[in-house]
């Protein structure tokens, strides 16, 4: 616990300190003089606000899509499927995790390309592939993080005793009421756990955007570009504090709901 704190929080503190330095515009060497210029620029330039909002909305979108798709899948796995089918389904959900992230992202690049399967499927209806862009990014990321949403939900539902559902039915509750007053409250911590994965992974992602995002950029791309292309490590560090702050706010909000204690 102690070492985790040193390694993890020490790194974060180092990040924040780096953000207060500047890089030489010509050589890219770090100049260790204290300044708030990086943050000033981050807040004064509109483009960074736009990118932050775009990233945030993408993360929220991916989380919601994953939650909506994962719920029926997890419910079926935990409560309807036979034990044998249950095992097979868990394997089926886990298998994609064995394939490389890049392979899956490039597969979606192929899917969305203007001569790809999506275009082929839509062409009879007079439509064409939406092409690379935010939509493709949201779809790809939703696909990538779906198992991280299904698994905690499945675990959460499996812990829910069938007797509770039966008792609810015996007391005259319909399917809707049981869902709302029995299943969802029990499931809530699991949804929160899953959402932390989907949300934070999307917030920091920059590879999928590069592959299927067309000309769009996310916070991750700005950081990447500043590290690898702009030779401006301090500014990259300043940008990197944005997702950290967003996650802290998110985790604080989650903590207030008390979901973390019930995990």
């Amino acid at each position: 616990m102690l070492w985790l704190g040193v390694a993890y929080l020490g790194a974060l503190a180092a990040l924040f300190i780096t953000a207060l330095w500047t890089a030489n515009g010509f050589t890219g060497n770090i100049e260790r003089t204290w300044t708030l210029d990086n943050f000033r620029e981050l807040f004064s330039q509109e483009v960074y606000r736009t990118i932050t909002i775009r990233t945030l909305l993408t993360a929220v979108g991916v989380t919601i899509i994953d939650a909506v798709i994962a719920f029926p899948v997890a419910l079926y796995m935990a409560k309807v499927a036979s034990p044998r089918a249950q095992r097979l389904l868990v394997i089926a959900i886990l298998t994609p995790l064995w394939a490389s992230y890049l392979v899956k992202a490039y597969a979606w690049r192929g899917m969305f390309s203007s001569s790809g399967p999506i275009d082929w499927l839509l062409s009879p209806f007079g439509l064409s592939s939406p092409g690379y862009g935010l939509f493709a990014t949201v779809v790809t990321l939703s696909y990538l993080w779906l198992p991280y949403m299904i698994l905690p939900m499945y675990a959460g539902l499996e812990r829910l005793p069938n007797s509770l559902l039966e008792a609810s039915a015996d007391l005259g509750a319909g399917a809707g009421v049981t869902m709302r007053r029995v299943i969802l409250p029990v499931l809530f911590p699991a949804v929160v756990a899953g959402s932390i994965f989907a949300f934070s992974l999307t917030l920091g992602d920059y590879i999928a955007v590069q592959i299927v995002g067309g000309a769009n950029q996310m916070l991750g791309n700005v950081i990447y570009d500043n590290v690898l292309k702009g030779n401006n490590l301090p500014f990259a560090a300043a940008v990197a504090t944005i997702p950290v702050v967003i996650m802290l706010v998110y985790l604080a909000a989650v903590r207030r709901t008390g979901a973390l204690e019930n995990l």
Binding site: F26, N29, R32, G230
Partner: protein
């Protein structure tokens, strides 16, 4: 509760550690920071590169060499069996070559900073930054026999030497081209206007090079089409000129499907039809041609381009293999092979005897007057490169920020 206290303690300790580390950094780093600031200020005038020792004699080869290169500059036969100048080098010198490709000059500068690479093929927008940062060492050209055969107009140039000291050996030079899909794009474009004012015709299928240096392409187009702006050199833009270029690129952004810096990504995008027109290199055309109807032209406005230099890392552990590589890559055989593969003019005057018929003529190799017409990538700095002294020009850092803004 107990748990939480340990956690807080750890947090405090972690923070204290980071702060103390940072404090050390401030103490020892203060000097070097001031130094490099001075260098940047002195750049152009009397710019003093950090004192890095130069090799005076060669010893035995170390058996290994790590090469940082533009794609296509260090082929070992894995892309195309007949294209191989790394294997002969390995057999001759016993230096096992490990190649890393980079997509933009900025990437090269960042990777060189890691100190993991022995030699690098740097373009003019990377060379001075590498020299000023002390990442590359001066090169003793007496130790490189093939240097004598290289064209004189490539030697002792502002982008490869400082105060008469060479920091590498010239590799070759060429121009950025306009590539298009011949099935889709008609009439055939003759001007860069096809990706600027005319980009709307191929909306969503235009591609551009993903680097701040691409701003120079827009500046070059403005230089020819809007003489009122008074652009003399696409790398010397004052604030107004930069703003005009940025506006042009923002308008182009509406129609850009993808930006590319990975050459394989561009090839693939042309193959699938996701990109149909955009800036390119000859080597990409050569690779894409195989299964895609593409053609590349040098538009009437001229073009931006590169003049590359092989440099040696300051911290190299394999100086002898590095010198052997510099000599090998500038040998007539290897230089001719690279030039033909990548599609550029070779730097060695004897290479033209070994290239295919008419190759050197089509690239105007050795034609000094033609070579001066290409606007070679250079790092934009505060002192205007076109000689204006009444204004300050925009720096590369400003270009980098403008680039983020353009992409939006």
């Amino acid at each position: 509760m107990r748990n939480r206290r340990t956690f807080a303690g750890a947090a405090a300790l972690g923070f204290a550690l980071a702060v103390s580390l940072a404090a050390c950094g401030t103490d020892s780093g203060g000097d070097s920071g001031a130094d490099s600031e001075e260098q940047a200020a002195e750049e152009q005038g009397g710019f003093t590169p950090p004192d890095i020792p130069m090799a005076s004699e060669l010893g035995d080869n170390e058996g290994a060499l790590s090469v940082l290169a533009w794609p296509g500059y260090a082929e070992d036969g894995s892309t195309d069996k007949s294209v191989d100048w790394v294997t002969p080098f390995e057999e001759e010198t016993g230096c096992q070559v490990d190649v890393k490709y980079f997509g933009t000059s900025d990437e090269a500068v960042t990777l060189m900073k890691s100190g993991q690479y022995d030699v690098v093929s740097a373009s003019g927008d990377a060379t001075l930054r590498l020299i000023a940062a002390g990442d590359v060492a001066p090169v003793n050209t007496d130790l490189i026999p093939n240097y004598a055969d290289e064209w004189d107009f490539l030697k002792d140039r502002p982008w490869n030497s400082v105060n008469g000291q060479m920091y590498g050996v010239p590799h070759g030079y060429g121009a950025n081209l306009l590539m298009y899909n011949t099935d889709v794009v008609s009439p055939e474009p003759t001007s860069w206007g096809a990706v600027f004012d005319g980009a709307a015709d191929y909306s969503g299928k235009v591609t551009s090079y993903d680097s701040p240096i691409y701003i120079a392409d827009a500046a070059l187009y403005l230089m020819k089409t809007q003489p009122d702006l008074g652009i003399e050199d696409p790398y010397a833009l004052d604030a107004d000129q930069l703003a005009a270029a940025v506006d042009l690129l923002k308008a182009q952004r509406e129609h850009v499907g993808e930006y590319w810096s990975d050459y394989l990504k561009e090839i693939q995008a042309f193959q699938t039809g996701d990109s149909v027109i955009g800036t390119t290199w000859q080597v990409i055309v050569n690779l894409a041609e195989a299964d895609t109807p593409v053609k590349a032209i040098l538009p009437e406005e001229g073009a931006t381009g590169w003049s590359d230099t092989w440099m040696i890392g300051a911290d190299t552990e394999h100086p002898n293999c590095s010198y052997a590589w510099l000599n090998h890559i500038t040998s007539p055989e290897a230089n001719a092979a690279v030039a033909e593969w990548f599609g550029e003019a070779p730097a060695n005057s004897k290479a033209c005897d070994l290239t295919s018929e008419g190759f050197c003529d089509s690239y105007h190799a050795g034609d000094e007057a033609y070579a001066e017409q290409i606007h070679y990538w250079t790092t934009p700095i505060e002192q205007c490169l076109d000689g204006r002294t009444d204004v300050t020009c925009t720096t590369y850092q400003e270009w980098t920020q403008a680039w983020t803004e353009i992409k939006g």
